[in-house]
Symmetry: C2
Subunit: 210 residues, 2 copies
DNA sequence: TGAGCAATGTGAAAAAAATAACAGTTGTTT
DNA sequence: AAACAACTGTTATTTTTTTCACATTGCTCA
């Protein structure tokens, strides 16, 4: 309906920005105008208009030379590009403060990334629901991940068990990991790993403002 | 002692990696060998040896052509490069699940980024200590931030108040922000802002593994 | 209707970052 | 002590990402 899925490779930075365009515009949807200019969108996200136009060009979205880009079409095509049709299943591994916080975030956001299982070792959490997500014993991970067709894990376990947990996850078929532990995970190149390294980020900020 | 502070501009990616080298090597310190090869260090962090050598070159560290890089010297020079002598003061703003988790992380890590104050609106938290960090009413932010010479804030407040809180922080003299809210913050270019956008990261992972 | 303006779309240039290539060093071995 | 091996230091090349520049388009309004 909104143009075809582009299976040409997109630059990682573009994918990142596309996700942001959509989240921003989800709020605009319905309200206000039906269209938005590249410079408006750029301004809202501290980008340049050229960057925005190029990103949209790459996913085959064409705007109106006078009115800008149709917001619904934009949201639609971004969805066709970066989502799987049926959404993707995500597991949360480690239900501590951080895990709960992440759950809260994602529940509020409009996204097709569905957290469908959480894992922990705490008997008090296992077999309960947290924020509507069923909690399992990490022992059952392999089975649950297979059954629910989960490919992505958010890793919020204590650092001591980060490596062993990762090994288990990879054996269970996980293909992408969002790593909140400060532990470096050594994974093969076909696994998509994204590190959220708080200390490093802080030190980076520290360096650049001094 | 370990070579001079280089005040030439370093690429952001280099600064990021330097922080990681140090964290990794802090664990090696004392143990094992006194030296490490670029290819060993690269292997441990999934980088290329060339990248490592270039980074170290940029901070003026020179290795031994046969033995590699002296680990203590490496840690020392990275410190001289990216730390302030006296460390830097950081505030945690918003003491929810996420805030507490972040506190836990940083307390465990060896870093000169010191969290010296936390802010919230919850009467039950104000004037207590959490993980040895004193908690203040956000109303007092301006005063406390000035007094304690805080320049960096970790923003873990609910999205509804993200923008207003940021305004307050910037008025109080904060120069760098690590933003955990999914809200886009529009700050002037002289403020160093780093976004931890969980949804975007997840969608990016989703795209690249499909 | 047609001139003007304010967008878009995109090739080309520039900047930033990563990778390759290799000469130069240093310890080791015979 | 000469040949070797395995590193480092750095220049050159390639790749990736951003920015520039400008022709083209589509609405508006005189």
């Amino acid at each position: 309906m909104f143009g075809q899925i582009m299976n040409t490779k997109l630059p990682p930075r573009t994918v990142e920005r596309l996700s942001k365009y959509r989240r921003l515009l989800d709020k605009y949807k319905g309200l206000d105008e039906a269209h938005i200019y590249s410079h408006k969108l750029a301004g809202l996200l501290n980008l340049t208009p050229e960057q925005v136009r190029r990103d949209l060009m790459l996913i085959g979205l064409t705007g109106n030379h006078r009115k800008g880009y149709n917001i619904k079409a934009l949201i639609g095509i971004i969805g066709n590009t970066i989502d799987r049709q049926e959404g993707q299943q995500v597991a949360l591994v480690g239900i501590g403060n951080l895990g709960k916080a992440v759950l809260g975030f994602i529940r509020k956001a409009e996204t097709r990334m569905n957290i469908v299982a959480a894992f922990d070792i705490d008997r008090n959490k296992i077999n309960t629901h947290i924020a509507h997500v069923p909690c399992f014993d990490i022992q059952e991970a392999k089975q649950v991940i297979r059954e629910k067709n989960i490919r992505i894990a958010i890793l919020t376990v204590p650092p001591e068990v980060a490596v062993s947990t990762t090994t288990l996850l990879l054996q269970s078929g996980i293909r992408g990991i969002l790593n909140f532990t400060s532990v470096h995970l050594d994974v093969s190149p076909d696994i998509y790993l994204k590190d959220y390294d708080i200390i490093t980020s802080l030190e980076e900020i520290g360096f650049f403002i001094k």
